[in-house]
Symmetry: C2
Subunit: 182 residues, 2 copies
Amino acid sequence: MPTIGPKTAARLVFHLLNRPRGDADALADAIVALKERVQLCSRCYSITEHDPCPVCADPQRDASMICVVADSKDLFAIERTSAYDGRYHVLGGLISPMDGIGPSQLRVRELVDRVATDAPAEIVVATNPNAEGEATALYLSRLLAPSGVNVTRLAYGLPIGGDLDYADENTLARAIQGRRSL
Amino acid sequence: MPTIGPKTAARLVFHLLNRPRGDADALADAIVALKERVQLCSRCYSITEHDPCPVCADPQRDASMICVVADSKDLFAIERTSAYDGRYHVLGGLISPMDGIGPSQLRVRELVDRVATDAPAEIVVATNPNAEGEATALYLSRLLAPSGVNVTRLAYGLPIGGDLDYADENTLARAIQGRRSL
């Protein structure tokens, strides 16, 4: 398993051996429940215990916005900011020709269907600020152009709280190009 | 001197002792020349060997834009990006009530005078993405509002090439708020 090598594995085993039997049973049950209870939301494809997921089931969330993310991890990162109150769509990855991942391996068809049926006003593409994320964002913006929906992208620029001359040149260049009126 | 403690100082001294006498003379001359030849540009107040500085003297640079920076270090960081071809104005610091630095300690008066005489179309405030930088940007935008110049600020958002869920929550929130149409 990731980040667990032989030494850490041994440490975990000895820890479990030193705990009461109930702890080991509880851990085993939790692992079984993980696979049994966690499923994909049938609307946004995020991982959830209940279908639809809490975000899709919440009538307070703005249904006119759909935020497109690569995976559920990114969805939870955005939820932690409390800066977004629309719905989500989890693609299940990013377009990456180098890894042989094209739109057909992702939930792009499902997104197009949702745009057609739900007619949202805005699609916020929140993919990673790298080559795959950019390629996916551009692909989606072209694909969705005929539907007339406003496709937006997270801002590039300076991270908050830093120092201007610590920013790398590409980021600083994007911050200059993306400057905004005060 | 910064980053040079007793051990590094001793290492530098022994290095100089091992070199021919000409090297020590050249270093001494360079240090004297540093104070003698380096001065402030009389237009933008950046450090320069010649007055006006190469940016102010270059007729190819867009005179309708003035980029306001805290110090010459930030000016050079922006020059390295090649993303900006206007002029500069070096404030000599940032507004910081905690450190007792107000507008009167900075070259704010000089900026207002330049805006009045040069009548630029845009002032790009390129201060640090932190509390002092924000305070300075807001102060300048209010101060310059009557002149009608368009005051802009560098974009906040995701640094290029990173991973969305490595961004801190404030930065991600600003990236969402600052999203742009594709």
